[in-house]
């Protein structure tokens, strides 16, 4: 009953139920995230994905069941939606500093790692969707996390940007040796970037490798015969990638060009 320390889950839910005003939104859910593994929660709107993430983060108490977290677990959290009010002047640098990390070199390095180094001095309100998601990812990484919890990390990002972000998350998992729990409602790309998929609709419908979940009857039933078969496991083999502004960088993230003044699209 005592697995070796490196295999012990970072966080685990055991028979978790959550009720809001007498309505059950999660029923008897169990899952575990091991170090270095990417676990993705998929499911339709209202399936309780974000609630489950909140339970694992300790933001919501389960009505029944329990959550185990490794002692002194450091979590980097990327929330589903974050809009910074126009009344609040805030540069990317200042936003990253809010994590409590002040060291300029660490901030530079982390923002570089997510391919958004050129945004450092810009106001957060002018960033495009993809740029802002990368900045959020950098903020989560600054805490040197054992576990990354990413709620819809590719929201408001175009399709190529999505693939690149999933690629990046996969890479970060290796370079930072952290476990990743992702919440997503899109299917195609996320499945490929994942070790384990948990299909949630208030209870765990099915779970396993992306391939096995893709063939599971419950998965078909949930997403319908038109969507499910089109699932293609995404294989990515580029010799270069793009950072958030479309600058060409080689596969391990170094800039080929000097960053230049970038006028981001404003978003929501």
């Amino acid at each position: 009953m005592s697995p070796s320390a490196s295999d012990a889950p970072l966080v685990a839910a055991h028979g978790v139920c959550v009720e809001f005003d007498g309505r059950e939104v999660l029923h008897n859910v169990s899952l575990a995230v091991q170090p270095g593994r990417v676990v993705t929660l998929i499911g339709p709107n209202g399936a309780g994905k974000s609630t489950l993430a909140r339970v694992l983060l300790g933001l919501t108490q389960p009505t029944h069941g329990r959550v185990e977290r490794r002692a002194n677990l450091r979590i980097g959290y990327m929330p589903q939606s974050l809009t910074i009010d126009r009344d609040l002047p805030m540069t990317v640098r200042r936003f990253l500093q809010l994590s409590g990390v002040k060291d300029a070199a660490t901030l530079e390095r982390t923002l570089e790692e997510v391919g958004a180094a050129y945004t450092m001095g810009q106001p957060v309100q002018v960033l495009s969707g993809g740029e802002f998601q990368r900045v959020l990812l950098a903020r989560a990484l600054l805490r040197n996390p054992d576990l990354l919890v990413l709620d819809e990390p590719v929201r408001s990002v175009d399709v190529t940007g999505q693939a690149e972000l999933y690629d990046l998350i996969g890479k970060l998992r290796q370079t930072h040796h952290c476990g990743v729990l992702m919440v997503s409602h899109d299917l195609h790309l996320v499945m490929a970037a994942t070790d384990e998929v948990i299909c949630l609709n208030q209870h765990v419908c099915c779970a396993g490798t992306p391939e096995s979940v893709g063939r599971h009857p419950e998965y078909f039933a949930m997403f319908g015969p038109t969507v499910a078969p089109s699932l293609a496991v995404y294989a990515h083999a580029h010799d270069h990638a793009h950072d958030a502004a479309g600058h060409v960088v080689d596969a391990d993230g170094h800039n080929h060009h000097h960053p230049h003044e970038h006028l981001g699209d404003s978003h929501g």
Binding site: I75, P79, L88, P89, T91
Partner: protein
Amino acid sequence: MPTGIIITTRMNISATAMDDFLIRALVAGFGVALICGPLGAFVVWRRMSFFGSTLAHSALLGVALGYALHFDMTLGMFIVSVALAGALYLAERRKTLATDTLLGVLAHAALAAGIVFMAFLDTLRTDLLALLFGDVLSVTASDLWWIYGGGAVCMVVLIWLWRPLLAMTVHEEMAQVEGVNTLLARFLFMLLLAVIVAVSLKIVGILLITSLLVIPAATARRLSKTPEQMAALAALIGCLAVGGGMAESYVWDLPSGAAIVLTATAMFVAVAAWPKRRTVS
């Protein structure tokens, strides 16, 4: 209303006494503006201006309480403000009604209770107009102690609270995951506001107090790139408004609180109307 309304007349005050009044008033006004700047920035960011107004509405109750129990009027206002902040904090945790609605209930209940309470205290003679609109020339030495003592304590607490409060203003749950005690930070911020409203009331009065929090901060927004710049600029703009407003009040014999607010508003309009091309480094 049995409370006597005294219209302050300033004609007969001798020149030296006038100087004393004026200096005290200016010192008091600058003190209030300095602390209202940074605190007001948070009021704007956290959309809490209605909370500020609610605290101000409860001030009549505080004045009556202070009188009935024989202690300082500012202390009475502070006690009522803290009680109100506590009531709101508890009501918010139940999460049944929107904060805006709760404030609507609390603000007017407190105001009505204050009016009724004051009606019972036949012997209470207070300058209701000064309470409503402020009378900066009635500032006493003990008021200055309240403003600078309370202001200094608030400033220290605010600096200590700055990063966690800013982090939770951006995203409450992200801050929580990063280890911020958001319940404590939120309660402390309400207390800070309660102190500031209580000590600032003599300067601009119940009906105008929120403006001293909101207008300088709103004016500073367009000129700032970081939250800290906005807070510092708001303090500076507040001081300019106090200085300008008091000068106008002295020269044209205007009600001082209203003159201060209008001066702040004029600066707000001037900054808002400034052509957009200008960037501040």
